[in-house]
Amino acid sequence: MALKTKTSTRIGVTILAWGIALWLFFPIFWMILTSFKSDVQAISSPPKLVFMPTLSSYAEVFERASYWHFALNTMIVSVGATAIAIALAVPAAYSMAFMPSKRTRSTLLWMLSTRMLPPVGVLVPIYLLARNTHLLDTCTGLAIVDMLTNLPIIVWMLYTFFREVPAPILEAGRMDGATRWQEMTMVLLPLALPGIASTALLSLILCWNEAFWSLNLTSSNAAPLTAFIASFSSPEGLFFGKLSAASTLAVAPILIFGWISQKQLVRGLTFGAVK
């Protein structure tokens, strides 16, 4: 009897979980599917599930825009921004977690509140600064802005991870004559690595998808994938096939990357929940 309920519950759970998963994933699946249709097939009504796949939409996208240029820029900017942000955030979080002062908490809150700066309100100042420093339309400039927008969250996330590391372990290291630097690099970092990795992954994803600054601070040299999409979002005529192909291309690297690193992402995002 007990076994029977268990089996039926399990079947119920399986159906429910898969149903929701498929429903949430469906738009992405449909986008990929549509990208293999021609523009005419893509707007057939009712929509076709079975059709002759064609690469014509991809061919047109590649003919219209140099995809690799945009993808490379996005990669450089995301990786660069994440790397600098982590490099700056590790010492800051270390200091907050292990050398807390009265102002630590308010500093952290203040940092987070800078992230709420609405981009539309400060477009012109930032644009002027970027222009005067010759950082307009450079990967460097965009990476700096992305880094700054994500830094508060990264500091905060690292701070929560570092606080999980028991202080006696660090102190034990110091007893053995380790310097602060050694303590941080040899003892703390290996312990907090899963957290740091997850933070970096999250930052990569957020940088990859950032659209406002990347459209406004770049034109051609440093234009990332968000600009690539902006040239396909509403062209003349039938465009659903091309739009789907371009969208698939724009999200494919980060999607695949996310799938691969998903386990790592989950492992690190504990936020001190494990006690």
Binding site: D39, V40, I43, S45, E63, R64, A65, N73, I76, V79, G80, I84, A87, Y127, L128, L129, R131, N132, T133, H134, L135, L136, D137, T138, C139, T140, A143, I144, L215, N216, S219, S220, N221, A222, A223, A227, A230, S231, F232, S233, S234, P235, E236, G237, L238, F239
Partner: protein, 442 residues
């Protein structure tokens, strides 16, 4: 200022950290950065520009292709702040006179071989300020009526040579067949000064309405505006496709090309696309007629041209002018004809294009479009005297924001959030505010 400097130092220090991944921002000499809009004719230009690079080996072209709204924002910021990122910009005849007045555009002086006088006068005039030419037209458009000949035949209707809006409404009622997803009339409904308000403004003109009177007082609460919006809203509600508030030019083009529209009143540039069997499922069933007339019947008429201009902030003005004269030349038209077929040549700019017998044969609508553009008069008289120019827009800088805001209000009437009267009253108030804010009506 010292604050700025310290920022600069801080940012530069940071920049050093990134040297590994930094790309140079310096433009190689002889590289032209061209900002264009992502429509079909521009894509063709981009493909064919290899020929230009072959003919001018010392000029390299760098393309920035963006959606219209994003393009406009990027280009305006760049030019207004004199950043000089773009050497060639794609702008419309709304921007040209305003920007020329600010001294942002380089005067264009093409050589004799270019044959400026071949450009249709109405188009040329719209790109001229104080007798100087500031941009060269890549393609130009006016407005016309497209309809499905097969649907009309089935319903026993004939499209008159000069339809009126009353007739159009009756036809639309007759051919609407919602069970088969055939909608009698498709019109722009997507909010935006260049989207629904382009159509609604030109509709208002022929209904005898206008945006402002001579003292810059908005006249949106006039009876003529009420009649305009009533026609528009009731036609779209009764016979329009679902989702009309998301349909701009491109969406309606897709709808018509896939057989969902009976009548569509929009830009003449759609002709080339609707008659192209590769892009249109109804290529052999498209009929065309002039834009319908309303009660007033006269008024300024729709004229738009996507044009190429050179900002004064460009460091390579001479090369940029070489490029834009190439891209808008007679030879370019021939090049497109040879590579892509005559039906694909940029329309509405040159008399010589329309004189070519091949074009007349490939594009049955050619003479029709020529006539529409030739007679297009964006400065034509409204019912009352007016202080502004433009037919489907108002030639003042504030119009982008005003038009878009009123466009939203108009869209709200389509989705039943407001009545026509409420919408017009609210539009009147918001325009008054906007003009006061900008100092025009202070």
């Amino acid at each position: 200022m010292s604050r700025l400097k310290s920022t600069r130092t801080a940012i530069c220090t940071l920049a050093l950290l990134l040297t590994g991944s930094a790309l140079s921002s310096a433009q190689a000499a002889g590289t032209l950065t061209i900002a264009t809009v992502n429509n079909g004719d521009m894509i063709v230009m981009r493909q064919l520009s290899q020929e230009f690079e072959k003919a001018h080996p010392d000029i390299h072209l760098n393309w920035v292709t963006l959606e219209e709204n994003v393009l406009r924002q990027r280009v305006t910021t760049d030019i207004a702040m004199k950043t000089g990122q773009f050497d060639v910009v794609t702008i419309g005849n709304y921007e040209v006179p305003i920007w020329a007045k600010q001294g942002w555009l380089t005067e264009i002086k093409p050589d004799a071989a270019y044959d400026v006088n071949d450009i249709l006068p109405s188009v040329r005039d719209s790109l001229t300020a104080d007798g100087k030419l500031y941009a060269l037209p890549f393609y130009a458009e006016s407005v016309m009526t497209y309809y499905r000949k097969d649907l009309f035949q089935k319903a026993g209707l004939t499209m008159p040579d000069a339809p009126t809006y009353d007739q159009i409404r009756q036809f639309a009622d007759r051919i609407t067949d919602k069970t088969n997803q055939v909608y009698g009339i498709c019109l722009r409904g997507k909010p935006g000064w260049g989207e629904n308000m382009a159509y609604v403004s030109s509709l208002a003109n022929t209904f005898g309405a206008q945006w402002f009177d001579m003292s810059w007082k908005p006249t949106l609460t006039s009876d003529a505006w009420k009649a305009t919006l009533n026609w528009y809203v009731s036609a779209l509600k009764a016979d329009g496709p679902p989702g009309a508030t998301s349909n701009g030019f491109n969406e309606n083009l897709a709808l018509f090309a896939s057989g969902h529209c009976g009548i569509w009143i929009d830009s003449t540039v759609a002709g080339g696309l609707l008659f192209d069997p590769k892009q249109s499922q109804v290529a052999d069933k498209v009929g065309f007629a002039p834009a319908p007339k309303g009660p007033y019947g006269k008024g300024p008429t729709w004229l738009w041209s996507w044009s190429l201009a050179v900002p004064v902030s460009s460091h390579q003005s001479a090369d940029a002018q070489t490029f834009i004269t190439w891209a808008t030349s007679k030879d370019y038209v021939k090049l497109v004809a040879a590579q892509k077929g005559w039906v694909a040549v940029p329309a509405g700019t040159r008399a010589s294009t329309y004189a070519a017998p091949e074009y007349a044969k490939a594009a049955p609508f050619a003479s029709f479009v020529l006539n529409a553009i030739k007679t297009a008069d964006p400065n034509g008289p409204t019912a009352q005297p007016r202080p502004y120019t433009g037919a489907q827009f108002v030639g003042i800088p504030e119009f982008q924001a005003i038009g878009t805001q009123v466009g939203q209000t108009v869209a709200a009437t389509l989705s039943d959030q407001m009545t026509v009267d409420q919408a017009l009253t609210s539009a009147q108030t918001s325009i008054t505010r906007a003009l006061r804010q900008s100092g025009r009506a202070r």
